[in-house]
Structure formats: C-alpha cells, structure tokens
Amino acid sequence: MALCDNMPAVVCRFPALSDSTIRGGRKVIDEGFKGLVRSYSSIIDAAVQPLQTFLNFLERLFVTSPWPIVLTVMLVVVYSCSRSQNVTIGTAAAMLFIGLFGLWNDAMVTLAMTTVCTLFAVVLGIPIGILMARFDRVQSFVNPVLDVMQTMPSFVYLIPVVMVFGIGKVPGMIAVVIYAIPPMIRLTNLGIRLVDREVLEAADAFGSSSWQKLKNVQFPLALPTIMAGINQTIMMSLAMVVVASMVGVGGLGKNVLGAINNQFFTVGFLNGFALVAIAIIFDRTSQAYGKRLQKHTEVVHG
C-alpha cells in the first residue's frame, strides 16, 4: 500500500462506475425483462404448452409402462443399434441393478428427458451445422454464440430461462438443449468442411445440385464426425439433466440434489452410479452404431 500513498487515486483504485449507476442500470434491465415476461406470459405459456404435454406424455409412457416391456424395448433398441451381445448384456445387467436399488422410476424419468433433449439437439444442431459449413458468414456469427453457450456457467442461463418459462420440465429441457447442442453444431460443421475436395469436385463435374451434393456426398462422408457429435451431445445432456433438476426436472438428478443438501453419502453415490450406467449404455450403443455405419472404411485392399 505504501506505493499508493504518493500516487493519484485513479491509478490505485480502478475507476469503476458508481454503485448507484450500476444499481440503476441493473434495475432498469431486470424490471424491463420482468415486465416483458409478465406482459407476454400468456403467449409464452400457450407456445410451450404442446412441448409440456409431449414431455409429460413421454415421461408417463416410460414410467407407467410395465418394467419388463420397457426393458425389452430398450434391449431391442440397443441390440439393433450396436449388434453387440456384450453391450446388450451389460445394458440388461445395469438396468436390473438400477431397478433392484429402487431407482427404476427415477431412471425412467431421466431416460425420457435425455432422449427428448438429445433428439431436439440433433434435429436443431445438424441443420445449423450444415448452414455453417455452407456459408462462412453464418460460421463467423454462430461460432462466438457457441463459445458463449459452452463457457457460460449453466446456472447463469438458468436464470432467464426460469424467469421466462417458470419452474418445470420445459425450462429444464431448454437449459439442457442449450448446453448440449454446441458439439452437435460444431462437429457437423467440421465434418462437412473436412470432406475431400476432390470428391466434391467429382460430384460437381457430374452435375449434382447442392441438395444432391449434400445428400450423396457431404453428409455421408461427414457422418463419422457427426456421429461423434451425437455421442458428445448425449453425454452432455445426461450431465445437464442433473443440473436441470434444480429447476424442477425430476429423476435421478433430483435425488442427487437432495443427497447434496442432506449429505446422504450413499444415496448420492447410488444415483450417481445409476447415471453413469445410463451414460455408458448410451455411449457404447451410439458408438457401435456409428462404427457399423463406417464398415466400408475398414476393409482395405491388401
């Protein structure tokens, strides 16, 4: 502090805006936003109503169906995607353990939520990624947005989401999709940009339209990268479903949150491991599926 004694104040203390200015500005923004939300609340509610209904329906479908049916369907899906006995048997074992420890219903809620969120992220992410790959200007605009989405702590954007949509599944889902969509967009963009220029030139030389080029050349050749993006998106949705439990999404995440609040060591780990098991099932299945799509790259002339 001795150094500061002989110096002008402006060098020693950062000349911040005065507290009252900041408070005033904050108030204006907060009030403005709240007012906006309040005046449009009925429209917003009506807009998200179908989504709400869909989410409720899916959750009920997963939870109320008899567990043997759900398990069978799950195993069929896992097997038909991965064509691997090991993955299928592992899935069966993991789900039976989850059931045994009384977490079946919670696991189903989480599963339903993750499935919907991943679907949304993929359906929204791939077209955005394609647009980014096609137009450099879209890329230069979307990239910084993705940077913000990936680095902004998820709790921060939960605030406006909750302000607009209230507490419940829809805001939870929106938060999860915002968190999970960047790798989908980025890897779609990257995959398409990495497609061999010579093959693209050949497609042009035969007179392909842009849509034919996308459908026949760019998308299939970018598929390994896109599959990696889907895999990442699934993992990130699962991770975020836990955080989203703070805004009213049920399932395993809610149990974890309760365990943190009450320092229930065992409950926390049980639910944590259940999440890990579901994550591994998703991961192995989607990776094996992606690999199967690429079987043509494995056979090499010898």
């Binding site: 050949a202 030389a205 035969f206 007179g207 050349v217 598929l223």
Partner: protein, 350 residues
C-alpha cells in the same frame, strides 16, 4: 450420337481476388512473374486457342504448374475463366446459366480424375450409377447400364466391393466406368492414369484406345507423360507456363519441335513408334520394289517386318493397295534415331 468439336478461344485465367482488373494489362504483355510479384495474382492460362477434334482424342501435355488441369476444368467450368470462350456445339459454356451448366455437365460431359475421386461409402455399382442417379434415371435402367460398363472395363464380379477393397488400377476402372455410364459426348480425363503403375497405365491406355475405336467420343486427356500423349493423342497441345507452346499431331511435334523446350522433351521419345512410313517415304520413281507396307504403319513395325522378310527396301501402299512411295531400311533406321542437332539443342536448353 454424333460427336462435336470443342473450340477454346482466347481463354485467360488469372487467379486472385481481382483477376478481371489485370486482364487488359496481361493482354498488353505483362509477364507472369511481374503479375505475381507486383500484384500478387497468378496467371494460370493465357491466350489459349485450341480446337479439339470431334470424336478424337485431344491430349493436353505439360509439366506440373503448366496449367493443364486448369485448362480441362474450364471445359465443364469447374473453374470460371477470366476471359475467353469455350464453345461446344456453338454454345459458349462460359456464358451458360446455372441450370444450363448443370444440364451440360449431366448430359454432355463425364470426367475421370487423377485420384479417382470415388465415393468411399458406395460400392462399385453404386459409384458407377452416380451420374445417372442424379439425372433421375430409373433404378432398373441405371443398374443395367452400369453393369454393362463395369463389364466392359473388366470389373465383373466386383460390383459389390467398396473402393477401399480395390487396387489403384481397379479403382480407376471404376472411375472410367462411372464416366462411360453417363453416355456423354465429351470425356474429360484429368491425369487419369498418372497415379497408376507403369504397366497398369499401359494397360489402361489400351482399354481407352479400344473403347474409343467404337465410341468415338471427344476425349480430352491431360498428362505429363509424352509417351502417353503420343500413344493416345490424335492431336497434342503442349502447355508451358499457361501458354500453348506447340500443337499438332504427335508426328509433327516429334519431327518439328517448335523450340528448345519441346526438343528436350521429344529427345527421349521412341521415334520408331510415333513416325509413320509415309512421313519419310520418297515418292515412287519407277516400279515399286520390295515388300508392300501399309500407309500408317509406324517405323518400328515396318523395320521389324522388313528384317523378318530379309528385305532392305519396301514400298508403301495406300488403303486401296496402290503403291504411293518407296522406303529403304536405311532411311527407316536413320529416322528412328534422334537427330544429332536435336541432341545439341536439348543440351543447350538444359
């Protein structure tokens, strides 16, 4: 389908963001190096004028960086010209709108690439139907036509293999089958055989020559190999630094190289396989002597026939078996070795 000629007129290509701005200065004589050093633009092609024969093989030859791959991409406009015309059937390809150009590429041209450029996720047959598929030809029809050409290029039995499973030579056969299945008038071959082993390359040249005998397409073939150019080309244009240095038949180029650069090139050529007997025969004086040799026979074949028959003189006969000239074995041998002054020129050039 009758084939049509391709006319390239006053074609210029300047690579760089403002190529058009420099076209007048280049036409006024600005050099390639000046353009590059002062303005950062690259002169790809300058003042190209070539008429490519209908139903014949036009070879464009040059070393890397000579602009030959740039030139062939102007014919189906994969590269936009800076100035000039590419006329096919009286229509300037460079002025077509997007739909017309796509149509032109679909129905009039087919291209074979140096690195094959096959779709790795599609099997041989799926690759071969590609051109027809994007034209919207029904599946059964395109399968039928693709199978025909797969068989013609000698790939029967490999229809359901992936490109990865095939050798380079076989992959290029797929490339050729894909181009031929399109049934287009113009066949563009961009260094199509340059990536292949020498033996397989000769093999593929034979395939092309045999197909061409019956198909009579207008083929544009790019190569850096003079032997390949001489073997395939009905007409050859030699490119250097984006300019045509010489064009003509193989014989014309070998016998009368335009400058030291081309002299150096043709020095290593096996002249006995390029020059025809009627080029060096002397007009018939008196009665035809010795054995008859058909016009169009190359010197090497003539020498072989004469040696086998133990003759030192022969006469050349035309298509209707009329004698048109005489040719002694000594003259044949003299023409088969590279002339001494060519050697000196070549050394001076090097």
């Amino acid at each position: 389908m009758a084939s049509h000629a391709i006319e390239i007129r006053n074609l210029y290509k300047i690579f760089g963001p403002n190529g058009v701005d420099f076209i007048d200065r280049v036409k006024a004589g600005m050099s390639k190096s000046e353009l590059n050093e002062k303005y950062g633009h690259v002169l790809g092609l300058q003042d190209i004028n070539i008429s490519m024969p209908a139903g014949g093989v036009m070879v464009v030859m040059g070393l890397s960086g000579s602009g030959k791959s740039t030139l062939i991409r102007h014919i189906n406009r994969l590269i936009e010209p800076t100035a000039g015309e590419v006329l096919y059937d009286g229509v300037d390809v460079c002025r077509m709108n997007e739909a017309d150009l796509r149509d032109f590429r679909r129905h009039k041209t087919a291209m074979v690439f140096q690195k094959f450029a096959l779709l790795p996720h599609r099997t041989v047959i799926e690759n071969t139907v590609y051109g027809l598929e994007i034209q919207g030809v029904p599946a059964a029809e395109r399968q039928k036509r693709a199978r025909h050409w797969i068989e013609r290029v000698g790939l029967s039995g490999f229809e359901n293999h992936y490109p990865n499973q095939l050798s380079g030579g076989m992959q290029q056969r797929v490339g050729l089958a894909r181009a031929l299945t399109n049934d287009a008038d113009i066949l563009l071959m961009d260094e199509a055989y340059s990536a292949l082993d020498p033996l397989i390359r000769v093999d593929m040249q034979t395939v092309l020559l045999e197909l061409q005998k019956e198909l009579k397409k207008t083929v544009v073939f790019i190569t850096h190999d003079l032997d390949e150019a001489l073997r395939l080309g009905d007409k050859i244009a030699i490119l250097r630094d984006g300019k045509v240095v010489q064009q003509g038949t193989g014989q014309e180029i070998v016998l009368n190289p335009a400058d030291d650069y081309i002299t150096a090139f043709v020095k290593e050529v096996n002249r006995g396989r390029v020059i025809n007997v009627e080029t060096i025969m002397t007009p018939l004086a008196g009665n035809p002597e010795g054995m008859p040799i058909a016009a169009g026979t190359v010197l090497e074949a003539a020498a072989r026939a004469m040696t086998a028959a133990n003759q030192t003189i022969a006469h050349v006969v035309d298509a209707s078996n009329r004698p048109i000239g005489s040719i002694p074995l000594a003259a044949i041998i003299a023409s088969m070795v590279t002339p001494a002054e060519h050697d000196q020129h070549a050394q001076a050039a090097a």
